[in-house]
Amino acid sequence: MTAGVVQVAAKTPEWRAGRAGWLFVAPALVLIAVFFFLPVAASLLLSITDFDLYSVANPANVRIVGGRNYVDLLHNPTFWLALKNTFYFALIGGPLTVATSLGAALLLNAKVVRFKTFFRTIYFLPFVTTLVAVAIVWRYLYHPQYGFFNYALGAIGIHPIDWLGDPHWAMPAIILLAVWKNFGYNMLIFIAGLQSVPVDLYEAASLDGAGAVRQFWHVTLPNLAPTFFFVGVVTMIGYFQLFAEPYVMTTGGPLGATKSLVLFMYEEGFRWWRLGVAASIAFLLFLIILGWTAIQLRLERRLAR
C-alpha cells in the first residue's frame, strides 16, 4: 500500500522527464567520461611514472618517480627546441593566419563585389582538404629544383631556396602551408562578424566625414573585437598542437628545426614507448595552452573596458 503511494507520487511528469534526461545523456556521458576524462586524469598519473616499453609488456614494472620526468625534460635540449619551434609556429603562424582571414573576409564583404559565393567556396576549399595529402602536394611545390615556389621566385630574380632542407626556411615553409590551409575557417567567422556590424554606424561615420580607412579603424575593428578574440583563441589552441605538417613534410628536421611539442611527444610515446615522459610533455603542452588562453582572455577583458 505504502509502496503504491510512493510509486504514484514518484511517477509525476517531472520524475519521468528527469529519468528520461539521464537516460538520454547517459551514452554520451559514459563515452566521454571513459574515453576522454578518465584518460586525461590517468595521463597526470602516467606522467609521474617511469612507464616504458617494459611496462607496456607487463604493467607490474611501473614505478612512481614523482616529478623526475618533468625535471628531466627541463634539462633536455630537445624539449627546449620543440618548445621554441612550437612557439615560433604559433606566434608567427597564428597572427599571420588571422590577418589573412580578415583580409579575405574584408574583400568578400565589399559591397561592389559579385560572385561572392563562388569566391567564398574557392577560399574555403583548402580548409576541407585532407592535411596529409596537401602537405605532400606542398612538399613537391617546395622542391628546390622542380618546385613551383622557386620557379616563381626565379621569375622575379630571387635565387632558389631549399625550403624544407634548410633549417632557416623549413619552419617558414610549414607556416605558409598552415596559413593557406586554415585561413578559410576564420574567414567565414569574420564574414559573419562583419555582417553583424550595424549599417547605421558606417552611415554615421561617413556623415562625420570619415573615409574608408578611418571607418575601418573606428567602426569595423572595435565591432569585430569579440570575433577577433574568438578566432585568436581557437587558432592559437590549434596551432600549439602542430603535428601532421612536420610529420609528413620534414619528420621534424632538418636538424630538428620543425620538431614540435606534439611530434616530440609522439616520438617519445609511440616510437620509443617512453609513455611516462610523453605524458609529461602532453601535460606541459596543456599548461601552455591553458596559460596562453588565460592571457588572451585577460587581454580581451582589458581591451573591452
Partner: protein, 274 residues
C-alpha cells in the same frame, strides 16, 4: 565615380589573385596526377600534361592497394558519423530540453573538456584500448570519436529553440520520451543534424594522429595514414603520389561542394561556442 571604379578593379584583382593562390596547389595536384612518369619533375615546371594518362590511378589501386584504404576510411568515417549523430543528438536534446537534477553543473563540467588538448588523453587511451583488445581495429578509431563535446554543444544550441508546448502537448497525449525524441525532436533539428553529420564525416576522414597511433596493421590503414607511410617509399614518384592524394582529397571535396550550405552553417554556429 572614376575613383570608385579604380577601387573596384583593385578589389577584383586582389580577389582573383587570392582565388588563384587558394586553388593552385589543388589544381596542380590534379594535373600532376595525369602526367606521364617524370613530367612533374622537370624544369621549368609544367602545368598541363601533354599526354594525359590514367596509369597512376591504375597503379594506385593495383600496386599501392589504395582501394583497401579507401574502403577503410569510408567505413570508419561512416560508422563514426552515424553513431555520433545518435549519441550527440540525444545528449544535446536532453541538455537543452529535459529538466533533470544536476543537469547544468554536469553540462558546465563537461564543457571544461573543450580546452583540454586531445593529445593529453591519447597515451592512457592507447593503453585502455589495448587492454580492451581494440588496438589495430576499426573500433579503436571509432569508439573515441562516438561522442563529442562540440557535437553536444551544437545540438543543444539548436534544440533550445524547440517550443516546450510542443513537447508537453505530446506528453499529455501519452507519448513516451523516446517517441517524442524520434517523431518530434529529430525532424525539428534535421538542419543541425546535417551540419554535424558533414562536420563529423570530414573531420574523421581527414584525421591523422589518432588513426596513426591505433592502426599498426597496414591492411587497416585509413587513407591519410597510408599516404604518409607510402610517401616515404615513393617520394620520387611524384605523379603516383599525386594520384594517391587526389584519391584522398576528392571524396571530402565532393561532399563539401554538394553540401557546403550545411557545412558553412556549422562553422558559423561553432563560432558561438566561445
Amino acid at each position: 565615380m572614376k575613383r570608385l571604379r579604380v577601387t573596384t578593379v583593385l578589389l577584383y584583382a586582389a580577389l582573383i589573385i587570392g582565388a588563384l593562390l587558394s586553388i593552385f596547389p589543388i589544381l596542380w595536384m590534379i594535373s600532376a596526377s595525369f602526367m606521364p612518369t617524370g613530367m612533374a619533375n622537370t624544369f621549368p615546371p609544367r602545368l598541363i600534361p601533354d599526354h594525359p594518362t590514367l596509369q597512376h590511378y591504375r597503379d594506385v589501386f593495383t600496386r599501392l592497394n589504395m582501394g583497401r584504404y579507401l574502403l577503410n576510411s569510408g567505413i570508419i568515417a561512416t560508422v563514426v558519423t552515424v553513431l555520433s549523430l545518435v549519441v550527440n543528438s540525444m545528449a544535446g536534446y536532453a541538455f537543452a530540453k529535459l529538466r533533470f537534477r544536476g543537469r547544468d553543473p554536469l553540462f558546465r563540467a563537461m564543457s571544461t573538456g573543450l580546452v583540454i588538448p586531445v593529445q593529453v588523453a591519447m597515451l592512457p587511451l592507447f593503453l585502455l584500448l589495448k587492454s580492451l583488445g581494440l588496438i589495430n581495429s576499426y573500433w579503436g578509431v571509432i569508439v573515441p570519436g562516438m561522442a563529442s563535446i562540440f557535437g553536444i554543444f551544437l545540438i543543444r544550441q539548436y534544440a533550445i529553440s524547440i517550443p516546450d508546448d510542443l513537447l508537453d502537448a505530446a506528453r499529455i497525449d501519452g507519448a513516451s520520451e523516446g517517441r517524442i525524441y524520434r517523431s518530434i525532436v529529430l525532424p525539428t533539428i534535421t538542419p543541425i543534424l546535417a551540419t554535424l553529420a558533414i562536420w563529423t564525416f570530414l573531420s574523421t576522414w581527414n584525421d591523422f594522429m589518432w588513426p596513426l597511433i591505433v592502426l599498426s596493421d597496414e591492411r587497416r590503414y585509413t587513407l591519410p595514414v597510408a599516404l604518409a607511410s607510402l610517401v616515404g617509399e615513393h617520394v620520387q614518384d611524384t605523379e603516383l603520389m599525386m594520384a594517391g592524394s587526389v584519391l584522398t582529397v576528392l571524396p571530402v571535396v565532393i561532399v563539401f561542394l554538394f553540401l557546403q550550405r550545411y557545412y558553412i552553417q556549422g562553422v558559423m554556429a561553432g563560432s558561438v561556442k566561445g
